[in-house]
Amino acid sequence: MEVGGMTVLPDGFTGAIMAVESFRDGRAVLHGPGGCRGYHSFSASKYYSKAGPGDYEKYSLPFFFGQPRIPCTYMDEDDYIHGSIDKIEECLPILCADDDVFNVFIKSPGAALIGDNITDAIELAGCSDKAMAVEESLISEPFSSGYDHTVRRMIQWMDPKKKDTIPGTVNILGLPITSNDWESAFEDLKNLLEMTGLEVVSSPGAGCGREDIEKSVSAEYNVIVSNEYCARTAEYYEEKYGIPSIRFDGGSPVGFDATEGWIETVASKTGRNADRVKNLINDRKVRVFKRIKGTLYTNKVKGNDFAATADGSVLLPLTKWLFGYLGMAPASLTPNPGTDEDTAAKIRSFLRDIGAENAWRSDPLPEKIDFVFADGHTAEMLELSDRCYKGVDIGYPSLAKIGFLPRPIYGISGTMYLLDEIFGKE
């Protein structure tokens, strides 16, 4: 769904920043102009708040100026011409004075062109254990690729020492903090895994800390949520630490069917039993059945059409579930950049099987569509401008509103959220 070509998605640069900020004790440091800072500070703060009392005073320092998230070197015209290594040298002692965090320098698009050697400056300052730099330019790369690349680079830098494998333990990979209510998603998925008897050691890229990475190398498996966000990281774990990855071939755990398929795959590969989870899912399905059947809404959504734009790993299970479970017809599907060819092929194959191959990347949208599943802004805007009856927020960015109820898209609670949104439409 191109929405008339108006949706401008975030890219690998933003992905890199959010990846750093996804670490509990990680701090992205922006080497670039101040214009790139505001949005990212706001975004990081909204998606993973690390606010504390007295932040304004504590961070009334150069490079922070009262805002604790994503300090910035505020490059200007002179810096583009003469280089800006002096600002790096100036900020390092300030940044590294904080023992509770590690710092990762991310270059803005302009800074990436001028070749400041941040890694050398860090080494010269004796801060190599507290700071690192991602020197590569990730501009206009897919957001998910930038995220994955940066998580991997951080783990490489941390260089955890191989430990003995602890049987029955897993890491959760590929759950970005930019997914809706990722904290609830993490709780849900962790709970499901624990119900099979597995223990979650860490979640690189989703709220874990540096010390968790040290433990992560003892996990028996890596369990993949969304492959776009962790393919390279998973590969690294496999090559360096011999930790195999478990992927569900139906994509991410979105919707009852894919959640069940996901946990069954994990259980099967780990020699565990998924019956408890399946019982829980059945219980929820019964609840949904009773709720719908007991109202006037039994035919409310069947035959409605929908458009969806999301990462391929989400688009695949979502489309299948909306079609199979709710009887909704796909009108337009657009995968986000970073979707792998295999997943794209599966989506297209499914559309062919149901006679809806025209839905693949179809543009423009029909006159007014029933449902749109998209990032929060696109979903809201299409609803406000009367181009759909209901826009359902399923991705990043979604910065206009604040919420308190659980609203993830993954797992069982994710499914209930989606049902709530769909049936809440007037």
């Binding site: 640069f13 504390g52 583009y80 003469h82 698009p109 960015p397």
Partner: protein, 719 residues
């Protein structure tokens, strides 16, 4: 030395570095060494003599054509004569793109593809003639070149270039000596050796080899081979053997590398005159900081501790300005991240505006510059984007450049001019904001106003009972009230708004802006004033001195003025009185809650706060202090309109001053525009309300509520 020894060969353009590098590689390979030669010049002719005169695919071309996951080292590392591994970085055509960025990308790619895993004895980096930017200095970084050879002739400019390279090495020095020596490549001039020998002595470096001028080089070049291969017994070949042996002696620890002690300009002048110079060996680095290419010193480095911070860039301001036009397309020429940020902030504003919003007004597109485009130039992608949007039926285009496109010197103007010549009926304007290179957000905003006003049709005649407004800025004041308040102000008087310039308008409205009989500016803050001046000069229309009113006094003045202008004095007076009655009634009600309350005002960002002083005064609230914060844009002291009110004020007012005054005055409330929340006192933020009276009354109601509720809400008590 364990691992491969890494050697960089630098020198002035055309001095023979590639020839020297290739010959050294050939000799070393003949000595049984495993060699990798990397050409770091966009001309990509370094390894030709090792590949039988053939060219190889450059790394940058390969990157352009090959997706990251499909890249393999063997595709870009070719085996040349004697098994020498060959790589060419490549780069853009002269005059476009950023070759320095290309070198950075090349090294990153080689690293990612595992070049460090190759079994090698020596790596040779053959580098572009002058170290002109950070990218070309990459081989000088400590993780690359262990040692650097300078190739020079007896011509002064090549010696000067060699000296510059020593300065470059100095910039990367961590105290480890890294200069191997000088290679003299004779041009056949008189006293050639003397010049180089004096320079070498002054900088403390050996002349490792003296390569004679010879016809053999031209013959070998034609044959696509090195002199060492074609004429192994020649004097030239013997000199290359010397260099190769020197390299191996460094590798074996028999020869030491030396420090970099470049000469200053005066000393170089003496060298040019034929004098002997002592040099700066062992002296501390007295180099002025400056551009390596021209050695101009900076006038003073801006640091974030001392100088003005540019919070947002001109590109953002330009895009926001252009976003006020609902039927134009904005193309952000740069990475997708720039357009994403600008687009998202606009969308958030639209969402908060609520129903009735028009998604189509968020019509921002990106040329999606990536790493490869940064190297090769983005003109092509910009042109393609424009043409694609023309095919979609768009008629009006604003193109804004970012810092990425600015740094690489993309000539967006030429692209836009070429396309606009083909489509004279379409409207194109380019704002070369170049990110924050041309300034901050305000400057970009003003630049966008200029770009939009070019469309004004000077033949349009004004219509009665119509007005224009100028420079109302809605983007950071979200909601339906700003839409409504200005509209109501005029509609109550039966006046139509012809064009809300820089708020929300269409191309057609701007074109016919002269239909508006009178024009009012939103405020008299400095940015609005700049736009007003621009507006007047470009349209020939006069903007009224009185701005859109906020608060009762300005509301009354405004109605008097508008009544006179349109000859509707009675109507204006009637509407005004109605508004005034409503205002006074509400103020009376609020006064009961607010009378005698005491406030401190902290002001960092709000240039005009007369409305605030007025409403506080009307509510009988006492202002015990006004503090103008350190980042306040206007440092002229208090506005004369309220200077005589006897309110104590301070400039450069910071958080410590505020805390001290809180202890001293014990105010009931602190009013701040800085977003401050953490103090032991009740705090309320303020910003300029919407036009008219409803906005200030809403502020008054909130003020009363703030004094009622607890100073710290329960949720803030959580740690």
């Amino acid at each position: 030395m364990n691992g491969a020894l890494q050697i960089a060969v630098y020198g002035k353009g055309g001095i023979g570095k590639s020839t020297v590098s290739a010959n050294i590689s050939y000799i070393l390979a003949g000595m049984g060494k495993k060699v990798l030669q990397i050409g770091c010049d966009p001309k990509h002719d370094s390894t030709r003599l090792l590949l039988d005169g053939n060219e190889q695919t450059t790394v940058l071309d390969y990157m352009r054509k090959t997706p990251p996951y499909d890249r393999h080292l063997e595709d870009i590392v070719l085996n040349g004569v004697r098994g020498i591994r060959c790589v060419e970085a490549g780069g853009p055509e002269p005059g476009i793109g950023c070759a320095g960025r290309g070198i950075l990308s090349t090294f990153e790619t080689l690293k990612n593809l595992g070049v460090e895993g190759l079994d090698l004895d020596v790596k040779i980096y053959d580098v572009l003639g002058d170290v002109v930017c950070g990218g070309f200095a990459v081989p000088l970084r400590n993780e690359y070149a262990d040692g650097v050879y300078l190739v020079t002739s007896g011509e002064f400019m090549s010696v000067y270039a060699a000296n510059n390279i020593l300065k470059g090495i100095r910039n990367f020095d961590k105290g480890t000596p890294r200069v191997a020596g000088i290679i003299l490549n004779h041009r056949g001039m008189e006293n050639e050796y003397d010049m180089v020998e004096r320079f070498a002595e002054a900088v403390g470096l050996p002349i490792v080899a003296r390569i004679p001028r010879s016809e053999y080089f031209a013959e070998a070049e034609s044959a696509g081979k090195t002199v060492s291969e074609l004429y192994p017994d020649s004097d030239s070949a013997k000199e290359f053997e010397k260099i190769s042996s020197h390299i191996l002696s460094i590798k074996n620890g028999e020869t030491e590398l030396l420090g970099s002690y470049p000469l200053d300009d005066a000393e170089m002048g003496r060298i040019a005159k034929g004098e002997r110079v002592l040099g700066n060996r062992g002296m501390p680095n007295l180099l002025p900081e400056g551009c390596l290419a021209c050695m101009k010193t900076t006038t003073g480095k801006k640091t974030t501790t001392k100088k003005k911070i540019i919070n947002y860039c001109a590109a953002v301001g330009a895009v926001y300005g252009c976003m006020s036009v609902t039927d134009a397309v904005i193309i952000v020429h740069g990475p997708r991240s720039c357009a994403h940020i600008m687009y998202t902030l606009k969308v958030i504003a639209e969402i908060k505006r609520g129903h009735g919003t028009d998604f189509r007004s968020s019509n921002v597109h990106s040329t999606e510059m990536d790493d490869t485009i940064s190297v090769f130039g983005g003109a092509g992608s910009l042109e393609q984007k424009i043409r694609d949007l023309i095919l979609e039926g768009h008629k009006s285009f604003f193109i804004v450049t970012t810092c990425a496109s600015g740094i690489i010197g993309d000539n967006a103007m030429d692209v836009v001019n070429a396309v606009s010549n083909e489509y004279p009926e379409l409207y194109f304007r380019i704002i070369e904001a170049d990110g924050n290179i041309t300034g901050d957000m305000g400057e970009g905003y003003i630049a966008s106003a200029e770009a939009m006003l070019d469309i004004v049709d000077n033949d349009v005649i004004s219509e009665d009972m119509t007005v224009n407004t100028v420079a109302e800025r809605y983007l950071f004041r979200r909601g339906r009230l700003p839409d409504k308040s200005t509209a109501d102000l005029f509609s109550e008087l039966g006046i139509r708004i012809n064009c809300r310039f820089m708020y929300e308008t269409s191309m057609d409205s701007m074109k016919n802006i002269k239909k508006g009989k009178f024009t009012f500016a939103a405020s008299d803050e400095s940015e609005s004033k700049s736009i007003v001046r621009l507006f007047e000069s470009k349209t020939g229309l006069r903007v009224e001195k009185e701005t859109l009113p906020v608060g009762l006094r300005s509301y009354k003045e405004f109605h008097k003025k508008i009544g006179n202008l349109f000859g509707i004095e009675n109507k204006a007076e009637e509407v005004c009185k109605q508004g005034e009655r409503k205002y006074l009634s509400e103020v009376e009600r609020l006064k009961k809650k607010l009378k005698g309350k005491r406030v401190i005002i902290e002001n960092r960002f709000t240039p005009d706060m007369f409305w605030l002083l007025e409403i506080l005064s009307d509510l009988d609230v006492e202002i015990v202090k006004i503090g103008m914060g350190p980042r306040h844009e206007r440092k002229e002291g208090l506005d004369p309109r309220y200077d005589g009110l006897g309110i104590p004020y301070a400039e450069d007012y910071d958080i410590l001053d505020l805390k001290s005054d809180v202890d001293k005055f014990k105010p009931d409330l602190i009013l701040t525009d800085s977003g401050l929340t953490s103090l032991d006192a009740k705090i309320m933020s303020y910003s300029r309300p919407d036009v008219g009276l409803d906005g200030v009354l809403k502020f008054g109601r909130k003020l009363a509520n703030m004094l009622l509720v607890p100073a710290v809400e329960g949720w803030r008590l959580e740690e």
